[in-house]
């Protein structure tokens, strides 16, 4: 795990390609506004009309062919759903057609926000260890998932998060003071000091206040998307959750409702390999979360969560289509949780130490010199 970790820090990888990005080139599908979308009442799945003369199953519940060989379907018929990426581990764009060709300022902003998030995490984590705040959760290792997805959304898109999406809020411009105020539960807290740290919320930035119970936001995001669909405006909903929360009944409920009710939303699963101490092989036996999407009739994709351009591309396209076609999309971003989960519990996992900060710092200074001239 450590070997893999050292080369996939999202910040360093992204920054290596900084000087590959051409300035001023139009971004991939960035500025095209969706047409006024039709409200598809007739798009409801219709059952096949019955024709009893055909030697074909005529069941209302499913349409398929008959087969006379007894064979169980293997859960992982192919070796798992592939992981979409744009950059290799050295930060080079593999397929130029997938380069989002973002302006230099945008890419620099990605980097700035990721390092700012990382820095804030360090300060608040230390605050907790010093007894200044009661609790904290860092975002180490998952900054790419936050920044890449947040950048692909419109500012008025509604965000339902779980608890490790501070980068989304930061990208949207939530002030550091407000993060701190919520963690310190002081009088400047927009939430009036009522919740534990990291339970951020902002009405102005369309970020629904975090709550502690896991996965409860998933069916709520679906409801919000349905209401937004009825308003017939250019607005989507994104719902973040971890691979552990995806085991909750609420997740199943949300997936099923979103597909049957044709809601314009993006389910964004951060699969970081652990739910506190529970590894993924104790969380599920199927092929991750992306493999569940087809079961619900949902378009799904798996992406390298450490590749901020890949996350950006996937979220951008999912958003475009979700709004244009009124259907949900499931994105599973594979990543790592690079530290112990929470501060109060002493969960030390040998394979999840923080990134080698020295290496990253050297990369930063090297690349900064390259960018500045």
């Amino acid at each position: 795990m450590a070997a893999i970790v050292s080369s996939v820090s999202p910040a360093s990888k992204m920054f290596r390609t900084c000087f590959h990005a051409a300035c001023g080139a139009a971004a991939l599908n960035a500025s095209r506004l969706p047409q006024h979308r039709a409200f598809r009442l007739n798009a409801m799945h219709r059952q096949q009309p019955f024709d009893s003369t055909l030697e074909k199953p005529q069941f209302p519940g499913a349409s398929a062919e008959f087969v006379d060989q007894l064979e169980f379907i293997e859960p992982n018929v192919i070796s798992g759903i592939p992981v979409y990426r744009v950059m290799d581990r050295q930060g080079n764009i593999i397929n130029p057609s997938q380069d989002p060709q973002l302006p230099k300022d945008t890419v620099l902003n990605f980097y700035q926000k990721m390092t700012l998030l990382n820095t804030m995490d360090r300060i608040l984590y230390e605050s907790q260890r010093q007894g200044r705040i009661s609790f904290y959760m860092t975002n180490y290792g998952e900054e790419g998932t936050h920044i890449g997805s947040a950048a692909a959304l419109e500012p008025n898109d509604m965000v339902f998060g779980q608890y490790r999406e501070a980068g989304v809020l930061m990208y949207r411009g939530f002030p550091l003071d407000s993060f701190m105020a919520q963690c310190y539960a002081n009088t400047d807290d927009l939430g009036k000091g009522r919740q534990m740290p990291v339970h951020y919320g902002s009405r102005d930035l369309n970020f629904v206040t975090i709550s502690s119970p896991l996965a409860t936001q998933i069916p709520q995001a679906v409801g919000a998307a349905y209401a937004i669909k009825r308003e017939n405006i250019n607005r989507a909903v994104i719902c973040y959750f971890g691979e552990g929360a995806a085991s909750e009944g609420d997740a199943h409920a949300g997936f099923n409702f979103s597909a049957t009710l044709e809601c314009p939303l993006i389910f964004f699963c951060r699969n970081n390999g652990y739910a506190i101490s529970t590894p993924t092989n104790e969380q599920y036996r199927g092929d991750g979360i992306a493999a569940r999407g087809p079961g619900y009739g949902m378009l799904s994709i798996r992406v390298d969560g450490n590749d901020v351009f890949a996350v950006y591309n996937v979220t951008k396209e999912a958003r475009r289509r979700a709004v244009a076609e009124n259907q949900p999309f499931l994105i599973e971003a594979m990543t790592y949780r690079l530290t112990k989960l929470v501060t109060q519990k002493n969960w030390y996992l040998k394979s999840s130490f923080p990134i080698d900060m020295n290496g990253k710092a050297m990369d930063v200074s090297f690349n900064q010199r390259n960018v500045l001239h």
Binding site: F39, L41, M44, M158, F160, D189, L190, G191, K192, G193, R194, Q195, H199, G201, S202, R203, V208, T209, S211, P213, T216, I218, P219, Q220, A221, V222, G223, A224, A225, Y226, A227, I228, R230, G249, D250, H252, A253, G254, N256, F257, T260, L261
Partner: protein, 378 residues
């Protein structure tokens, strides 16, 4: 019910408060005249199965809300939903089987009238229904969620208690789901048995942040439901299913509201206060009538209407006057809502010294078909 009548008769003539009245097996709705027993133990006599007897007692025709039309309870609900969908373009109604009109016919005609996007079926998943409803409300639209039977509301308990009830508080009023109303058929119906007869209001009474309302009649139902929909808090509206067809009244066709958290004194009296909600109000009215005829006792009957937050003042005022209180509900007696009323009233100095409070409620066992009376048989 018979249990209520027995307790009532015992209570009138005793000086002391009987504490820890044992659970009385649920027997029937009907009143029955029993001899006074000097013993306080309800198990000394064999319990006989009582004949079914339940009469819905309509109120006078309301004149202050405009023209009226004969409606039963489910039709009054449909009327309320119709008014809502017509006046509020964001309003949507959803749940299991609501599209074809609902298993209790509460949503008949609404889909054809207002469209498939506004009245629609959801998959069979209560936690999804309520979670979805919360999301609709958070996004600013009016959400009316139907749970097919109150007995099936428990999968949604987390969404109701941990999310809906706390949404506004935990966000410092940045977000709320005040536009959510949850409706569910509630209470004994005669043949419902364990899973089509429950009255779960006490579970939700323990949860600050939501409102819980139970109407006794079509006129009350429509007004209270419209108030719940208008109310800026998530509300749970329990509809006594036995009244869906049995209760018929002249109900105003226009929009009107009945104030929440306001109990109603449906009959004035001076000797004892009887409190109930939903179906039991009609039983209590019969008990009151019986008491007047047979014993010359004047009963004040109060319909609580809103369980949470409940109208302490009206109840207190009444108990100050009468000095005696009997609360009756179908739900199991232990931890039932009567316990909350009883202890609050006894704790209130203004209610006079040691008011005599009694509770009559369901037994320790769930509803069994064999011990429920068959509606319609006498």
């Amino acid at each position: 019910m018979a249990a209520a009548a027995r307790l009532f008769l015992r209570g009138i003539h005793s000086k002391c408060s009987v504490s820890g009245v044992s659970t009385v097996p649920r027997t029937s709705f009907g009143p029955r005249l029993l001899k006074l027993s000097p013993s306080c133990d309800p198990y000394t006599k064999a319990q006989r199965r009582h004949a079914a007897h339940f009469t819905f007692q309509p109120d006078l025709v309301p004149t202050q809300y405009g023209p009226t039309q004969k409606m039963n309870l489910f039709q009054s609900i449909t009327s309320a939903l119709d008014n809502t969908l017509s006046s509020d373009p964001t309003a949507v109604i959803f749940g299991e089987d609501v599209a074809f009109g609902g298993v209790f016919r509460c949503t008949v005609g609404l889909r054809d009238k207002y469209g498939k996007d506004r009245v629609f079926n959801t998959p069979l998943c209560e936690q999804g229904i309520v979670g979805f409803g919360i999301g609709v409300a958070v996004a600013g639209a009016t959400a009316i969620a139907e749970i097919q039977f109150a007995d099936y509301i428990y999968p949604a308990f987390d969404q109701i208690v941990n999310e809906a009830a706390k949404y506004r508080y935990r966000s410092g009023n940045l977000f709320d789901c005040g536009k959510l109303t949850i409706r569910a058929p509630w209470g004994c119906v005669g043949h419902g048995s364990l899973y089509h007869s429950q009255s779960p209001e006490a579970f939700f009474a323990h949860c600050p942040g939501i409102k819980v309302v139970v109407p006794r009649s079509p006129v009350q139902a429509k007004g209270l439901l419209l108030s719940c929909i208008a109310d800026n808090n998530p509300c749970i509206f329990f509809e006594p299913k036995i009244l869906y067809r049995a209760a018929v009244e002249q109900v105003p066709t226009e929009h009107y509201t009945i104030t929440l958290s306001q109990a109603e004194v449906v009959e004035e009296g001076s000797d004892v206060t009887l409190i109930a909600w939903g179906t039991q109000v009609h039983v209590m009215k019969e008990v009151a009538q019986m008491a007047q005829e047979k014993l010359g006792v004047s009963c004040e009957v109060i319909d609580l209407r809103t369980i949470l937050p409940w109208d302490v003042e009206t109840v207190c005022k009444s108990v100050v006057k009468t000095g005696r209180l009997l609360i009756s509900h179908e739900a199991p007696i232990t931890g039932g809502f009567a316990a909350e009323i009883s202890s609050t009233i006894q704790g209130h100095g203004g209610a006079g010294a040691y008011p005599s409070c009694h509770r009559a409620g369901g037994g320790v066992h769930p509803e069994l078909v064999t011990s429920q009376s068959q509606f319609g048989k006498s």
